[in-house]
Symmetry: C2
Amino acid sequence: MTDTMDISSVMTQIGRKAKAASAQLAFASADVKQAALESAADAVWARRAEIIAANVKDMEYGRAKGLSDAMMDRLMLDASRIQGIVDGLRAVAGQDDPVGKTLSEWDRPSGLHIKRITTPLGVIGVIYESRPNVTADAGALCLKAGNAVILRGGSESFHSSSAIHACLVDGLKAAGLPRDAIQLVPTRDRAAVGEMLTMTDYIDVIVPRGGKGLVGRVQADARVPVFAHLEGICHIYIDTDADMQKTRGVVLNAKTRRTGICGSAECLLIDRAFYDAHGAPFVQDLLDAGVEVRGDETLQSIQGVIPANADDWGHEYLDMIIAAKIVEGVDGAIEHLRRYSSNHTDCIMTQNDATADRFFQRVDSAILMHNASTQFADGGEFGMGAEIGIATGKMHARGPVGAEQLTSFKYIVVGDGTTRP
Amino acid sequence: MTDTMDISSVMTQIGRKAKAASAQLAFASADVKQAALESAADAVWARRAEIIAANVKDMEYGRAKGLSDAMMDRLMLDASRIQGIVDGLRAVAGQDDPVGKTLSEWDRPSGLHIKRITTPLGVIGVIYESRPNVTADAGALCLKAGNAVILRGGSESFHSSSAIHACLVDGLKAAGLPRDAIQLVPTRDRAAVGEMLTMTDYIDVIVPRGGKGLVGRVQADARVPVFAHLEGICHIYIDTDADMQKTRGVVLNAKTRRTGICGSAECLLIDRAFYDAHGAPFVQDLLDAGVEVRGDETLQSIQGVIPANADDWGHEYLDMIIAAKIVEGVDGAIEHLRRYSSNHTDCIMTQNDATADRFFQRVDSAILMHNASTQFADGGEFGMGAEIGIATGKMHARGPVGAEQLTSFKYIVVGDGTTRP
């Protein structure tokens, strides 16, 4: 396509086709959807040379554009990563079908029988950055839940995403599903994103996948509902009744296992009584592992801890840095979280279940952990199969967004000529 | 308050107080919320003379403003309507508490135990028109679900709503709950509505209750998520396998029981084969009952049926008028519904379950009826106790919105020092 095409009319066309496809998908059987995803997995493996050749083009483009090493790594595909894509498609294919499930049913004195059953949401728009595998993950999850999807990948991964998308379309065709069920925006023009965010007639929900810049823009500009989180500022509160051994293991894992993911810990809140009695060997563990610890005045007495400033509270580092602070008991931690939590994932370390309950009741994050690493904040680890992202809003989808969260519901009301008095 | 006060700062204050109250309400026990609602019911009955005196002022204002008889009737309160308000409050008080319920729970191979539990949504904004009883219904449902609520009633019911609101606050105080849990916007200034629609920092969801003018404005201007329906254009499809007796009963009830509610039928779709074989005595029933029937060419051969024009398809009359049309089987009905349904409530009359299933799968309305009157589209009839409205969106709340639909959820993840490999 040329740069002079009219983006608005291209996107409207795509939207119309997606809406038409979604009407077909709404009643596609579980078997047919599963077959489409399995055929797509076969196609990705069969066409891997083609995908890698497309990826080489993207890598050249990325190098010319001066992408960082980290971004180049995210972009890169090899046989093992393609195997990962194939495995992901098969995993979603094998999941329970989330559509047509009876959520609840009951009888009424009027003689009516009422059932609440799951339905697809309709059309999902996914806007993502450089990782080309998102094309397969997002396409598969949306299809599994009976939704049509419009994928808008990053410009860097344009050729790789197109090659993977072609395999998904192979799968749709093999299963007899409409090829417009999974569409990829056929242009790098950024105006396409602006169109998607306001296509309320054609798109039911937007899922942005990427950094804070992307998500922030989507949340600010979208007229279509958005499932997303802006930041994952995960806290660990270490209570007076914490077990030191468990705390050391969890803190080190939560910060250092992978620092670049949204579930990595960014701030420690340490109960004053616990600190006075036991010190903070978990802070020493972090220092030993090469983490920069930014502490409040009390914690600065530990050698190697540097002073935190006001900006460090509620800060997402995504790096080998952590903030740390003394608080007055669980209520002090709750107060800090009310102000600084991003409502993604927060953790309490305690052997006292009553204290954990107080924390659970009063902290309103999508995911609350007790004696477990925040790095578990992940749809796969939750047993949801793949996830399309983690949402921190309170509407509809919250926490890891898997196929089940990409459904809505309707009521089926059965009578026998029943009239209302 | 004077007209010169700064509405924006007044609303921000109200928003802040609501948010602070919602943090307290989130962990209010079921007993305390129930006690607050029962005390509020007592207060409404004890202070009924005061409420009626306030209502007299509103009625005078309404008369001076030249309100229609229908609107004056909606505004009017007497002892029996106040008894209705008291009964409504007690009914919500007695419902199961929807907060803290375990929606699902499971174990993971990692050793984690995951629970998904219901939580309040936070702060609800309710914008309504002349019925003063909405003050009590909406306030009670929001409180039951642990939410703070900001009520903005119609200017006509200003004094009545204020008097009822005072009783709700009595209930909160008696139970030791923050009085800011239920606030009423203390001004008739319409600018307050504009503020509410954009207070994304303080309001989690807006529920508009009223006519198309109000709902349309809210849907167009809100930056806060909205639970609502714009129109209830309810259809009844009469299939070739319909039972005539049942059809006659349901059609007459669905149109004429009450014409002004969102669940009243606005259009009949009649299968051609059924019509050719049996005629349309249900159309005659409607004519006999004084309903104006606007039919397509075929149906105009019935004496008394007047011609429908293009505007009659997808039209909400809320009156003794109905549109009627011949279609080609269930697929013809589905095609008409895809174009004209407002996705509120649609009904199929058939003795053929396979045809009903086809209709259920392919029509995506919030409520689908089988052999039952569309007038059952109501939270009370669904057994949800009171409802705050009916939503046709696909996100979060759909169909009747009761206390359960005013909750969100979070995940509680319990480990034992569990770290992620």
